[in-house]
């Protein structure tokens, strides 16, 4: 696989990763995102409804937390997880954890890391981890790593150091086992940068990991609350500066449009797409504009329909959601609100998704009020399409030297 950058401007990298996949002929755009899945399936969607979505990323993210407990089944299946889940054509990246469900801290040891599936905790030593990857045969996989230094409020230097030491040890062992595994010859190990919020340790992690023959880097533990954003972004810049330019940089647990742009400016290439899923789960639809060369009136209309409502969206709202107790952002509208009961407009005017082409806000509102399953299906289709469209616009903006306009447009819409 080869990362070719066509442009680097203000720290943002634009390019393509080529020669991907088992047959070596697939390509991926950067900056880009990965299709978020749960137990190997896009949430709410079957292949039919997934194929209704335009610009679905070439690579899907699987989570070990949802698949580790099916290890035996996959081993017996023998043909790899892609075929098992009905996505034989997709590139696959296997992360350790599910970004939506944080895992309990305190379970990493010198010898093992744990993930949590439906059936409970699955503890993995390096050899068990690699055995599972052998059964999965993904294109890329996150190496076993210790991410707990970023869990606690303030990490001690000692804990940060341990996270780096352990992760490097795991990496060396995994690389060694990969050499001995026929089945994993075409899979790429992604090295994980740890170190909590301790600069020295972050730099050490970056430099040391970069010395190993990994295919790319996962920047772990850079998520957190808005209070510490500046610090984390500063840390991120310093880390990416240490990484080789010709290998992709992924980041986990960062998916909001504004944060995505901040990270791209600091040298990040690939993101998870769990944000549209969280929006779906709270009965909301993404409506933020990423049309940085618009008819100004059109932008405002697309968001919510009226001038007055633009001011309204700047308030954040707490909404109880299934599993993810996240606050609603100003990038979205809440279809449960009574005002949508008789609104026969599509979710977003001009959106080409199946939901906006076929249904109205009033219908989605009805489905949510009556607790119908189709609400999740239609919202997921719209939210994914909207989000993938956003990434497309990032690439276009970079190509046309318009990222500043796009960034300003997103900043105006962020709360």
């Amino acid at each position: 696989m080869k990362l070719s950058l066509t442009k680097v401007v203000n720290g943002c990298r634009l390019g393509k990763i080529k020669n991907l996949g088992k047959t070596g002929d697939r390509t991926m755009d950067v900056p880009g995102c990965l299709l978020y899945t749960k137990t190997g399936s896009a949430p709410h969607l079957t292949p039919h409804t997934l194929h209704n979505i335009h610009k679905v990323p070439a690579m899907a993210q699987l989570t070990l937390s949802s698949l580790a407990e099916h290890h035996e089944v996959l081993a017996e299946y023998k043909e790899g997880v892609g075929k098992f889940i009905g996505m034989p054509e997709s590139l696959l990246y296997c992360s350790l954890h599910d970004p939506v469900s944080p895992c309990p801290a305190g379970y990493v040891t010198n010898k093992s890391v744990s993930v949590w599936g439906v059936g409970g905790r699955v503890e993995m030593t390096v050899s068990k981890f690699m055995a599972i990857q052998q059964a999965l045969q993904p294109d890329w996989f996150q190496c076993l790593s210790d991410g707990e230094a970023s869990c606690a409020e303030a990490t001690s230097i000692k804990r940060a150091r341990k996270s780096v030491d352990r992760s490097l040890l795991f990496l060396d062992n995994c690389l060694r086992l990969q050499e001995e595994s026929e089945a994993l010859q075409r899979s790429t190990i992604i090295g994980v940068i740890e170190g909590g919020d301790v600069m020295e340790e972050r730099l050490r992690s970056a430099r040391e990991t970069a010395k190993r023959p990994v295919g790319g880097f996962l920047l772990d533990g850079f998520q957190g609350d808005p209070m510490t954003l500046e610090t984390r972004l500063h840390l991120l810049s310093s880390v990416t500066a240490e990484l080789p330019e010709d290998k992709p940089r992924l980041i986990c647990s960062v998916s909001r449009p504004d944060e995505v742009l901040e990270c791209i400016e600091r040298g990040v290439d690939l993101f998870e797409s769990f944000f549209p899923y969280q929006v779906t789960e709270r009965g909301c639809a993404l409506t933020f504009s990423f049309d940085y060369q618009p008819n100004p009136e059109e932008t405002l209309l697309q968001q919510n329909g009226t001038q007055e409502e633009i001011k309204y969206v700047h308030q954040t709202k707490k909404i109880k959601t299934t599993g993810c107790n996240q606050e609603m952002t100003s990038f979205e509208i809440n279809l449960k609100e009574k005002k949508y009961q008789g609104d026969f407009e599509p979710l977003v005017r001009g959106c080409s998704c199946y939901c906006c082409q076929n249904h109205t806000r009033a219908y989605i509102h009805h489905l949510l009020v009556t607790n119908e399953l189709l609400a999740g299906v239609l919202l997921m289709m719209h939210n994914f399409e909207h989000y993938f469209g956003f990434f497309h616009s990032i690439r276009e903006a970079l190509k046309n030297d318009r990222l500043a306009q796009l960034k300003e447009l997103i900043r105006r819409q962020a709360s």
Binding site: S41, T46, H48, F84, H366, V369, L374, G376
Partner: protein
Amino acid sequence: MAAAASPSSMESAPRIMRLVAECSRSRARAGELRLPHGPVATPVFMPVGTQATMKGITAEQLDALGCRICLGNTYHLGLRPGPELIQKAHGLHGFMNWPHNLLTDSGGFQMVSLVSLSEVTEEGVRFRSPYDGEETLLSPERSVEIQNALGSDIIMQLDDVVSSTVTGPRVEEAMFRSIRWLDRCIAAHRRPDQQNLFAIIQGGLDAHLRATCLEAWLAKWCHVRTRDPRQQTPGHREAEQMTKRDVPGFAIGGLSGGESKNQFWRMVALSTARLPRDKPRYLMGVGYATDLVVCVALGCDMFDCVFPTRTARFGSALVPTGNLQLKKKQYEKDFRPIDPECACPTCQTHSRAFLHALLHSDNTAALHHLTVHNIAYQLQLMSAVRASIVEKRFPDFVRHFMGTMYGDPTLCPTWATEALASVGITLA
């Protein structure tokens, strides 16, 4: 309306059914319904999309499965989102964006089954909304008014629904009241050219009552009191007109409850023996595969049931030998599709093992995979039944079907064997 001079006028309902083939042994028929949103081949199974949605599958997915008619539920939709909003959305077709046919029931069944505090009088059914506690009256006029707003291609009369396990005078009262309510529905129906109002034959499990009900429909004419302005005298006397009332189709109601299968099939057979040959017979609430095949043999054309879609959401996949409870451990490493003969998208792409894993996760996609398959199963079954009738091999089809389902035709349940025998099909 007819002129005052003639004593009787012909008010004939459209003939919406064309018979294509009839089994020479049994009462099975293959036909085609001509409905406002396109033709529908019969016998037909109609999936139930209660609240303007076929559960987790999109209109496009339902269309791709070959579904050309499905159900919406007047009781639920009448409460949420309400007929006024649906009318603004260009009817139920517009609201849910379904291009093919819709059938709505009257709301009567939900009255009795869902609402614990409902009261039936001659006026209608009085109940409290479970959502806002408001008291509402569902009368024949109100039911038709809502269904007119919904704009469904087939609408059902409001009937006085009584559980099939009830006996005694209440059954007779309900039967006669249903006849009176049909007349009120017909009178209130504002769109007879766009919507086909079906009558519902009641009578519980009493053969005599059912026969009486059937006779009332098939009488050469019914008395209907109407007010003809040209007849009005200064005393405002009503003019009584003899008008022949007709309906485009009949439903057999009041079955598919707690009654025994033995009683069930006899009431169906009694009804189909007397209903007009050239009109569709809709057997309400019937959906198990065996029941469908037997009742086609008895002469029914249309069926609906929540079973296939509901059981899908519990992880159960329908197959020619019964069903697979895919959550069970035995499917954990079963890499075959649900049914290798099935052409549905689920069976084309996914294994039982994957569905098993997905069913144990919280990803709702698992339910949608099974909903797609179960609807496909029902529709493919009806297609196969129809083809066998057209190709004059329906009795053989029935024997083969029972053999596959029960291991041996002789192991078929007694009621089904007897029902089939009554129309000339032997299984041994």
